[in-house]
Symmetry: C2
Subunit: 195 residues, 2 copies
């Protein structure tokens, strides 16, 4: 039941973003009276928080799926670069194809905090995947170890900013070709920044 409500919330979020995950509608989908939800969630925001982490997990899953398709031994410079590229590509692709879920993944309500989801070097999290890719780039000799510390934040920011600006931001109704160009500019910009 709890899982059912979350699943219903995810579907609502998929087609309408975080605002669309409305408690009464979720219970309607599950086929239960609105108040039943309060046996499983303190309030609507807590349900939304669960939906958000589900969305974030789906983003991480899509990223790992695309990532494992890149062949090449660990430590191979070219493979390492391609893996970093795949991470950025998958992030942008998810934002483009699942705009509702993408927006929801980052719309965690102020209360119910992120806990440690992105803390430390947790793999199976977007930041965790990015970090291991960057470590591999250092190991492969592509990225200067002196520049490694903290570089995940600017890089994450470029990709996330591009997703935000082209997805819901001011660039959202640019023609499709222009959006692709911007995504491509972003990825090559990152690639150029490694040397």
């Amino acid at each position: 039941m709890r899982a059912g409500l979350i699943a219903a919330g995810v579907e609502l979020a998929r087609s309408g973003g975080p605002e669309a995950v409305v408690l009464r509608e979720a219970t309607r989908i599950v086929g239960v009276v609105p108040n039943a939800a309060y046996r499983h969630f303190a309030d609507r925001d807590q349900l939304l928080a669960e939906v958000c982490t589900a969305a974030m997990n789906e983003l991480a899953d899509r990223m790992t799926a695309d990532l494992t398709r890149i062949r090449g031994k660990r430590g191979n410079p070219d493979a390492a670069r391609r893996r970093l590229g795949a991470i950025g590509s998958a992030y942008l692709k998810f934002a483009r194809k699942e705009p509702g879920l993408f927006a929801t993944a980052f719309a965690v309500p102020r209360q119910h905090s992120y806990a440690d989801r992105d803390g430390a070097s947790n793999r199976s999290t977007p930041l965790g995947l990015l970090r291991t890719a960057l470590d591999e780039l250092v190991e492969a000799g592509v990225l200067d170890p002196q520049r490694r510390d903290g570089i995940e934040y600017p890089i994450w920011s470029i990709v996330h900013g591009t997703a935000e600006l082209t997805g819901q931001g001011p660039l959202r109704d640019a023609p499709d070709a222009e959006l692709r160009r911007i995504e491509s500019l972003t990825l090559t910009f990152i690639s150029n920044s490694l040397t």
Copy 2:
């Protein structure tokens, strides 16, 4: 009256983001009955849209204010770099000090589109300011003209992504020192990318 409603909406947005700009509350502030708003706006989203452009204008104003404090002739390489840095700094500072307005500036409802606000090379718009700063960097010989085309998008993305991730995103409850460090990493990353 129309202006009053927008002003009230801006104050609501300042302390609570786009969700807080609720039509009835705005009319309450102005001291009028809710329906009176419908003489000036088609619906709540149109009021919100006006508040959003007001917020975006305030961002642009703060940026130009900080920008004009950078002395140095146009074409001076060092001044050009400092001006670009000031643009990024002002953007991040606004996001940090006015989180509600910053979020609102980018929360334009799907209907009421952006029109051409950020189109072309309009000055007095964040993108416009960034573009003229980049042009000056080319003119000053800092930025290779071949790299100029389209580079405003990755750069805007880095700054915007950092603002988003540290402001409302997963990094939002990192300690203050860490947030400053991330902002600084972002700015030096941009600076390094120019050469």
